[in-house]
């Protein structure tokens, strides 16, 4: 596999650094700088997270952004939009209002120099259809994120597929989130449940049922009859939000897949993701001729922030060392590289 030719590139979504950004330990420029320093040259930004004053951050913001891209050798690959269909109390937005909202975010993506825009899962297929030609004129692709527990045979995704196949627009497609390929129950989640008061027999049953591809939807009743407490009920519910799909399911839809959110929960000390088998995923992407980015999406912080200082930077670096290995790149990111970066002086590096 190391010698297989491919065009897959590395990137990072600043979703990954949410803990440090939330706590003002990292600035937006720090995120860009860090991405560039690890060769994750394609950056993905969530305007509603990183742009103060969204949707009108001001010209200075865009000037700074363009300068950073230049300075750190990065490019804006993708932006992530939200669609606040419940913005107005007591009613859901009309399709026309939704279309206006999505176009506004397409404009922002264009101004940032992005190629791809993440349409959040609640975006109706009718809105995708209504925005396709607008996106095409801007040279953008509007990509529905397929996030667990959604999948390509989910009734909602089937409705989107109908529109995409009917329109044949180059501007519509999918952005799979690799959290749809959780092969075993993430350890950071089960351990957090234990710390929060779940009893071991409940956690073990959830983990075992999930890992054995059992009926996770049956866990709620089972836990209820076993006298579960609220934390235990939470882990039963969580089990139904996690999904394992065979990564080859992406092959059929590869013509519609243009960007990938490389979700991860825990990069272990031995350099692998505990729950998501990237060593099975990346070969499928290579086989399918995928030529876009693997855009890191670290989501472990919320599960460990109660016991350690989150070190998203180190986690992302570990994921990129793994990507280099699986993509056959020369491994340039040494373990321990974090230490050299003064920005994160107060960040713990022993995430786990």
């Amino acid at each position: 596999m190391l010698n297989t030719a491919h065009q897959i590139k590395r990137g990072v979504s600043f979703y990954s650094y949410q803990e440090e950004c939330f706590l003002k330990k990292m600035t937006l420029e720090d995120c860009v700088s860090e991405a560039g320093s690890i060769g994750a040259f394609g950056v993905e930004i969530i305007p509603e997270q990183s742009m103060t004053g969204y949707p009108h951050p001001g010209e200075a913001f865009y000037r700074d952004w363009d300068e950073w891209m230049e300075k750190y050798g990065t490019t804006t690959v993708a932006t992530d939009l939200f669609l606040d269909t419940k913005r107005y109390p007591g009613r859901v937005m009309t399709l026309a209002e939704m279309t206006v909202s999505v176009r506004k975010d397409l404009d922002i993506a264009k101004r940032l120099g992005a190629q791809f825009v993440r349409a959040i899962i609640n975006t109706p297929p009718e809105v995708m259809e209504a925005c396709a030609s607008y996106a095409e004129r801007l040279g953008l692709k509007l990509l529905l994120e397929v996030h667990a527990p959604f999948h390509y045979e989910h009734p909602w995704i089937l409705r989107h597929l109908e529109v995409m196949h009917r329109l044949q627009s180059p501007a519509l497609g999918f952005m799979p989130d690799m959290g749809t390929f959780v092969e075993r129950f993430p350890r950071v989640m089960s351990e957090r449940a234990l710390r929060d008061g779940a009893r071991p027999k409940f956690v073990e049953l959830a983990v075992e049922t999930y890992n054995n591809r059992g009926d996770v939807h049956g866990l709620m009743d089972t836990f209820n009859y076993m006298g579960a407490n609220p934390v235990e009920q939470g882990i039963a519910r969580l089990s139904t939000f996690l999904t394992w799909n065979e990564p080859r399911v992406m092959l059929e839809h590869m013509p519609l897949i243009h960007h990938i959110q490389a979700k991860f929960y825990e990069m272990t000390d031995d350099g692998s993701e505990y729950s998501i088998p990237y060593h099975k995923i990346i070969p499928v992407l290579i086989e399918g001729g995928y030529d876009g980015y693997l855009s890191s999406e670290y989501e472990g912080n919320r599960h460990i922030q109660d016991i350690v200082e989150v070190d998203s930077v180190e986690q992302v670096r570990r994921q990129h060392r793994m990507f280099q290995r699986l993509l056959g790149e020369e491994t340039t990111l040494d373990a321990g590289a974090t230490q050299g970066n003064g920005v994160f002086a107060d960040g713990g590096s022993n995430v786990r």
Binding site: F22, E48, S50, Y54, Y88, I120, I121
Partner: protein, 130 residues
Amino acid sequence: MFDKYIIVEDTLRNTGDDDDVTGFQLGVRLPYYRGLGLSMVEDIEVTIDGETSSSASVSLTVHGNTYKLTDLPGVFDDRWEMGEVATVSVDKAGGLTEGPHSVAVRQRLRISYMPVPGGGTDHKTLTLRH
């Protein structure tokens, strides 16, 4: 996902003049990984030493703009940014006594892609200093 960061340490203060204390305030963050338009902030429930403030007595200040909690549903042109420390002010004649207080803040947020209300809860002991 950021529940533990909702209440900001060391921010509890009385409001008003020394001889006319009219309430108290504290710093509060959204428990969410993005900013949110204020019309979708459905509730901010402040409980001090077990006593929950009436919604009519609560105001929110984001980057210098102050809104009554009960007016938030109609605010479509302002946002609470991710990680932004907003100020929650509560009307209460005489304010709070100096010293430690048990403070709980519960937020209910309307997140469109979620079928159930979002938000979060935090509970900390803050000390009011003069």
